[in-house]
């Protein structure tokens, strides 16, 4: 579960990225976080992953109070999260299998668990036949599947996907979104940051819209017309 209560964030250059944002995401939810560039979406992702700390307000992620978390606790908090990036961030010189085993081992898993889990997750994302390929030998969609597999590997409570379809064509984007929906159906909470209205509107999910560092809309289903125009 994620709770942001009156969270504000100002950067050192004085820019106010968030102003009194309150969002609650319950376990098992699928939430789209939408908004134009510079609206504060990425700041929310960075706050949730403890890359930055809030200037004001309270922040709880999967039972960890990020206002009081110590640097030693941060890795353990992050193991409850899976993060998917727009640019995949796969290690180029490791093949698909190694990219996944590396991530699981980094999170402290043992050899037997790694083999079992990696096989299962590769099958889930449909890449079990390509586990020996290097990322450069895969299409963008396949690379993002590997990134999703990596995020899901450690069985996190929540996956945060930051513009996961930003580098993909509409057909591949839809596939990725359906894969994320499938993972959500298995019980993992999903927070998908995107600005692709068409894609969001195809799924009947909760949509949190943010603009100018404030939450301007929080509802289920399609964007409202006037909000679409604003965004």
């Amino acid at each position: 579960m994620v709770r942001l209560i009156d969270v504000s964030k100002s950067y050192e250059n004085g820019a106010r990225a968030l102003r009194n944002v309150s969002i609650r995401i319950d376990d098992g939810e699928f939430v789209f976080l939408v908004g134009p560039s510079g609206s504060g979406k990425s700041t929310i992702v960075k706050l949730i992953t403890a890359e930055i700390a809030p200037t004001e307000g309270r922040l709880m992620v999967n039972g960890y109070n990020l206002n009081t978390i110590t640097p030693r606790q941060v890795p353990y908090m992050r193991r409850t999260l899976g993060v998917v990036f727009q640019d995949f961030r796969l290690i180029e010189y490791k093949n698909v299998y190694e990219n996944l085993t590396f991530a699981m081992r980094a999170a402290g898993a043992s050899g037997a668990d790694i083999r079992k889990r990696v096989s299962y997750v590769l099958e889930l994302v449909g890449l079990d036949k390509k586990m020996g390929r290097l990322p450069g030998e895969l299409s963008g969609g396949e690379q993002q599947r590997v990134a999703i597999a990596r995020a899901f590997l450690n069985n996190p409570s929540m996956i945060v996907a930051d513009e996961p379809t930003g580098n993909l064509d509409p057909a591949r984007s839809l596939e990725i979104m359906m894969l994320l929906e499938q993972i959500n159906a298995l019980g993992t909470t999903l927070l998908v940051v995107t600005h692709e209205r068409e894609l969001v509107n195809r799924f009947s999910k909760r949509v949190v819209a943010i603009d100018g560092g404030r939450v301007i809309c929080d509802g289920t289903g399609r964007y409202y017309e006037h909000e679409e125009n604003r965004l």
């Binding site: 890795p75 992050r78 991530a103 081992r105 980094a106 990596r150």
Partner: protein, 299 residues
């Protein structure tokens, strides 16, 4: 989820460390090359200093003070003076030479010269050959020996001893400075190489942080990489040092002038050289890698 143990992580770090070295082969070769060069320079000057010290010690041993005993004393009285000389703090040994022995030695040195044959027994005085512990205090020791009752005169090559001292001090100081400087250069080079390697892998480190790797887990492979580079550098430098030292030894042995120098065989020094190289290599590798990687942990 079952957690990995220390042994499992150790194997992983070792494999990843070796893997990293091969993955960034050119940088690893450059790092090893520079470390080997630094260790060789450091080792060469240290060996030079060790051999200089050995030669100076030899010269120090051979540099003796002669204390002549008052000629009015009997041999027994003259011998008794020896205990007072031996009690002086810087005196390491003190050997009595009777006037007869001194004369015999003198005659032996000038065999064939009729002028020195058939000299009377009492032409020379009883004397003591004195060796000292520390050449730095030779002047004080000479004064102390002169003050001993029964000692008529003291002969000491003070200028020579001061010369030895100056040479040893300069050699020691130069060697010490070079060791410190080369150590600093080695750390800088290895840390720079690891810095380049970690910079090249900053994305990888960022991913590790994102999936919840601890700082120790992230540091592990880089730490082992540094250690392996250090050990490889030390072993290569050791064998190169051995080869160059033996080659120099052969040159010295065949040279008419330089063969007067005492050069220690490498076998006598190899244990120390290997240990010093390994310790230096390990420290430089570990220090260079850890200090550098810490910068990239702030993700």
């Amino acid at each position: 989820m079952k957690k990995t143990g220390c042994r499992s992580n150790f194997g992983y770090f070792l494999r990843e460390g070796i893997h990293n070295i091969f993955c960034h082969g050119l940088m690893s070769v450059a790092s090893i090359g520079m470390s080997v060069a630094c260790l060789l320079i450091m080792g060469s000057f240290t060996l030079l200093a060790v051999n200089a010290e050995t030669n100076l010690k030899n010269l120090e041993r051979e540099n003796e003070i002669l204390a002549y005993v008052d000629e009015n004393l009997t041999e027994a009285e003259a011998r008794a003076v020896g205990s007072k000389i031996a009690a002086i703090s810087n005196v390491s040994d003190c050997t009595f030479v009777s006037r007869e022995e001194a004369l015999q030695s003198f005659v032996d040195e000038h065999q064939g010269n009729a002028l020195f044959q058939n000299l009377p027994d009492d032409v020379l005085r009883h004397r003591f050959q004195i060796h000292i512990t520390d050449i730095r205090y030779m002047e004080d020791t000479v004064e102390a020996v002169e003050a001993v009752p029964g000692v008529a005169d003291v002969s000491a090559q003070l200028d020579l001893s001061k010369g030895f001292l100056t040479v040893r001090n300069i050699a020691g100081a130069v060697a010490s400075v070079l060791v410190v400087v080369m150590l600093g250069v080695s750390v800088f080079i290895v840390s720079n190489t690891v810095r380049l390697a970690t910079f090249a892998r900053r994305e990888e480190i960022a991913v590790m942080k994102m999936v919840g790797a601890t700082d120790w887990f992230i540091c592990g492979p880089f730490f082992f990489e540094g250690l392996i580079l250090g050990v490889l550098s030390a072993v290569i430098a050791f064998f190169l040092q051995w080869v160059t030292y033996e080659a120099l030894l052969r040159v010295i042995e065949t040279s008419d002038t330089m063969r007067l120098l005492t050069v220690m065989p490498f076998a006598d020094l190899s244990g120390w050289v290997l240990r010093i190289f390994l310790i230096t290599g390990l420290l430089v590798g570990a220090f260079g890698s850890v200090t550098t990687i810490r910068k990239y942990l702030r993700v």
